[in-house]
C-alpha cells in the first residue's frame, strides 16, 4: 500500500478516519476516470462510430473486472448509482412477488439503505417485516434464527459488516437458514468490500450490493451482484433506454440481465473508475494488509480503553470485525467531540450513522463517535486521534 497514491493524505496535519462514509481514491482511479472522460467518452450500446465502440468496450471490460473481483460472471453484475440504489432495486424487484402472509427478515444492525426499503415496502405490499436483534457486542443475534426465519420468510436482508460496530455477520449461516425455508439472501456488502475481495456466491448470498465510493472508487456507482437464475426471475423497476429488446403498445420484451436493470445512460466513467479501484484492491496482498490493519486497529482499541468512562460500541477484539470502531463517552455529545477533533485535523463521524434501529437497540439516543480505518491509515493517525480526543475532553469538561 503506497500512501503516496493518495495525494489528499499528504496534507500536513490531516488525519482521515471517516472511511466508512467514503474512502479516498488512489490516483490510478482518478486518472482512469479522467482518461475515459477526456478521451473515451461516448454513450454506450447505441453508437456505431469508433468512439462509441471504445466506450462500449470500456464499460463491458469494467463489468468483467468487477466480476473477477466478485468471483462471478459478468452477466451477474448490475451497475447502479450506488449501494443504496442497488439495495432499493433488489428490494423493489423482490417485493413484487410479496404480499400478505409473506415475511421478510432484516435486522437492527442495518444501515437505513438496507432496512428502510423493506419497511416502506412492507407498508405498501402488506407483508410482515421481522427483525433479527443485536447482541450487547453489536453483532447479529443468531440465537433464535429458526424462530425468526420461518417457512413464511421469502427474503432475508442483512449487512455483511456493520457501519457502526464493525461486526462481521456470519453470512454462510444466514444463507443456510434462509435457503432452508426457501428464502433468498440479500446482503449489504458496503462495509466489507473495502477490506478485500468478496465472493458472494461462495458465501451463499443470492444478491449482494456494494458502493464504489467506499471501496476507493468514484461516487455515483454501485453494484448489485445476483445469481444468474435469481436475476433472471426479477422484473425491472425502472424503465427507459437500453433495458428493453422490443416495445409494443401493450407489451415489452425486457432485455436480459444485467441490462434489464440498467435503464438510461449508465455511469460509464464511474464504472471504469470502480473497476480500476477493484483492480487496485486486488493487486494488494490483503493478508499482509489485514495484519497491518489489525495492528493499527489494536492501537486504536487500546488507546480508547485508556479514556476514562469511554464505552466501546461493538466487539472489543479483532476477530470477525472490520476496522470500524464506535464509542460514546457519557456526558460528551458525539457532535461536540467530532467538531473539536475536526479542528485538530482528525476527520471522524459523530451521529446516528443512518442506523436509527441500531441506536435504539443499543440505547444510544445521542448516537456515537465513529472511527473507520483504511489500509492507508497508520499509527500517526491513531496518535493524532487520541491526542485530539484528550484535548476535546478538556475543552468540554
Amino acid at each position: 500500500m503506497n500512501r503516496s497514491d493518495f495525494p489528499v493524505l499528504a496534507r500536513a496535519g490531516q488525519h482521515y478516519l471517516d472511511n466508512a462514509a467514503m474512502a479516498q481514491c488512489p490516483v490510478q482511479v482518478v486518472r482512469a476516470v479522467m482518461a475515459h472522460e477526456g478521451d473515451g467518452r461516448a454513450n454506450i450500446r447505441r453508437g456505431l462510430y469508433a468512439l462509441a465502440r471504445r466506450a462500449d468496450e470500456a464499460y463491458d471490460h469494467a463489468r468483467e473486472r468487477v466480476a473477477v473481483f466478485l468471483g462471478a460472471e459478468a452477466g451477474e453484475v448490475v451497475f447502479t448509482g450506488g449501494c443504496t440504489q442497488a439495495l432499493n432495486l433488489a428490494a423493489r424487484a423482490l417485493s413484487r412477488r410479496l404480499g400478505p402472509g409473506d415475511e421478510v427478515v432484516t435486522s437492527r444492525l442495518e444501515h437505513h439503505s438496507s432496512c428502510l426499503p423493506w419497511m416502506a415496502l412492507a407498508a405498501e405490499k402488506g407483508f410482515a417485516l421481522r427483525w433479527l436483534e443485536v447482541t450487547a457486542e453489536g453483532r447479529l443475534d443468531l440465537s433464535n434464527l429458526d424462530a425468526v426465519i420461518t417457512p413464511r420468510c421469502k427474503v432475508v436482508a442483512v449487512t455483511h459488516a456493520s457501519n457502526v460496530t464493525g461486526a462481521v455477520s456470519d453470512i454462510p449461516r444466514l444463507a443456510e437458514a434462509a435457503h432452508g425455508v426457501g428464502a433468498l439472501l440479500l446482503v449489504d456488502g458496503a462495509q466489507m468490500v473495502p477490506h478485500g475481495a468478496v465472493h458472494p456466491r461462495a458465501l451463499g448470498a443470492d444478491l449482494y450490493a456494494f458502493a464504489g465510493h467506499k471501496v476507493y472508487g468514484p461516487t455515483g456507482i454501485g453494484v448489485l451482484w445476483g445469481q444468474r437464475e435469481v436475476l433472471a426471475e426479477l422484473e425491472p423497476v425502472s424503465w427507459g433506454g437500453g433495458m428493453v429488446d422490443a416495445v409494443e403498445e401493450k407489451a415489452c420484451d425486457w432485455a436480459e440481465p444485467p441490462f434489464r436493470f440498467e435503464a438510461g445512460t449508465p455511469p460509464v466513467a464511474q464504472a471504469v473508475g470502480l473497476a480500476t479501484a477493484l483492480d487496485w484492491v486486488g493487486s494488494h496482498d490483503w493478508e499482509a494488509l489485514a495484519t497491518r490493519q489489525a495492528t493499527v486497529t489494536r492501537l486504536l482499541l487500546e488507546g480508547l480503553r485508556e479514556v476514562p468512562g469511554l464505552r466501546l460500541i461493538g466487539p472489543a477484539g479483532l476477530e470477525d470485525r472490520v476496522p470500524v470502531v464506535s464509542f460514546v463517552i457519557p456526558g460528551f455529545h458525539p457532535h461536540d467531540l467530532a467538531h473539536l477533533l475536526a479542528e485538530r485535523g482528525v476527520a471522524v463521524r459523530g451521529g446516528h450513522h443512518c442506523a436509527r434501529p441500531l441506536m435504539a437497540a443499543l440505547g444510544l439516543a445521542e448516537g456515537s463517535l465513529r472511527v473507520s480505518l483504511a489500509p492507508y491509515n497508520d499509527r500517526t493517525d491513531i496518535e493524532a486521534l487520541l491526542s485530539a480526543l484528550d484535548h476535546a475532553l478538556k475543552v468540554l469538561g
Binding site: 455529545h333 457532535h335 461536540d336 467538531h339 473539536l340 479542528e343 459523530g350 451521529g351 446516528h352 439516543a365 445521542e366 448516537g367 475543552v395 468540554l396
Partner: protein, 138 residues
Amino acid sequence: MTEDIYQQAVKDLATRASGAGRLDAPDAGAVLDNPLCGDRVALEIGLAGGKVARLAHGTTGCLLCRAAASAMAERAVGMEGAAAAALAGEMAAMLKQGAEPPFPAAAAFLAVQGHKSRHNCVLLPFKALAKALIPPPG
C-alpha cells in the same frame, strides 16, 4: 478558536439547564429535530393572555443546543408569537450576518458565527419556541 464556542458561559448555560422538564397541562408545544446531528427540542408552554407564562423543555443533543435551550427558556416568559418569531430571526441574524446579540446571554454564542455547521444547533430551541407560539396556517 473552536474552543471559544465552548466558553464557560456556554457550558454554564448547559449545566443550568433552565426550563428542563415537563409541564402539567401545557397549552401549546412543539418538537423540532436537527437531523444532521440528532438534536431534539421538545417544548411545552403554558399560556396566559396569549403569552408564555410557563415553559418546560426536554432537550437532547449537543452542548450548544442544550445551552441555547437554557438561554431560550430564560428569555421566553412573557413572549407571544410575533416576538418569538422575531427572536428566532434575530438569533439567526447574529450567527449568520454578525448582527448584535438580541439579549445579553445570547452573546455567549457569538463564537458560533464562524461555524456554519453548528448554527442550527443554537437556533433549534428558538425555532421551537416560535413554532409553539405561532399556530400553523388554517
